[in-house]
Amino acid sequence: MITSSQQHNASKEAANDLRKMLLAEPDPDIPTGLVAVNRKRLKKKLTTIEKDIKEYEESVKLDLSTLKFDKFEDLLKAPIRYRLANNESVKEFAEEVGINKRQILRYEEEAYQNCSIPTLFKILDHIGVRITGEIKI
């Protein structure tokens, strides 16, 4: 997940590079089938980057009262989306939730997939996220 304006800019440049690569005339010495496979994969990569860019752009203007999630993965991203929506730096957020800044950076690096459940709940509690919902079996 993109977690800063710096990463946002870098992702936009990466997406532009990919678009140029996809539009460029292929080397005529390379069989067309091979080029097609390569470009199909590049296109998939571009789609992923565009999705990340969109997610970031939505996060920075998110109305937190509308934050909803259907997947556990999205719950894990809630602290990042909260921080981005409040325009807080990692340092400010770390102070708010009482966790070391470096640790927050490590969590954000892996979209909180490396965060223990008790720590995640501690963070969610600090930022006022209450979880409601139902378990479907």
Binding site: S4, Q6, Q7, N9, A10, E13, A14, D17, L18, K20, M21, A24, E25, P26, D27, D29, I30, P31, G33, L34, V35, V37, N38, R39, R41, L42, K45, E109, E110, Q113, N114
Partner: protein
């Protein structure tokens, strides 16, 4: 691990030429990474059999990240144009099973010119990162 291998962004500060054994030692430092390398080795052997001599590894595997998803990288397809390209095409289509996400330069430009290289050299924060320059001829 050599000093100053990584930039402050956690990605390689410079290109790092290495053998497969060195790759395993330097970047296979936890169970998760070992598992990725276990899958990747089969795919990299296949790539070697197609005539590819070097793979330029970038992405999270070539970074400090503990749990990269796979091995991203790029190679020079001109090294294998006299081989069976249908096999290479099949390999590229199905490389996910080897935890590989590899691309080749398919334009008139060389690998070292802009575009493919520029893309793979750009880190998450926009920093210019180095490649692990893997010598596939060292792979057995």
């Amino acid at each position: 691990m050599k000093k100053n291998l990584y930039s402050s962004a956690g990605t390689l500060a410079h290109d790092y030429p290495c053998s497969y054994d060195e790759l395993s030692k330097q970047w296979g430092h936890n169970k998760h990474r070992e598992k990725i390398l276990e899958h990747a080795k089969t795919g990299l052997c296949l790539l070697k059999s197609f005539g590819i001599k070097t793979v330029f590894i970038s992405g999270s595997f070539a970074s400090k990240k503990d749990k990269p998803n796979d091995i991203d990288g790029v190679f020079d397809v001109s090294e294998c144009l006299e081989y069976n390209l249908q096999d290479l095409e099949d390999f590229l289509e199905n490389q996910d099973q080897y935890k590989l996400d590899l691309y080749f330069n398919d334009m008139r430009t060389k690998l070292t010119n802009e575009t493919h290289e520029a893309f793979f050299r750009r880190g998450r924060d926009g920093e210019k990162r180095g490649f692990i320059v893997l010598d596939l001829t060292t792979l057995e």
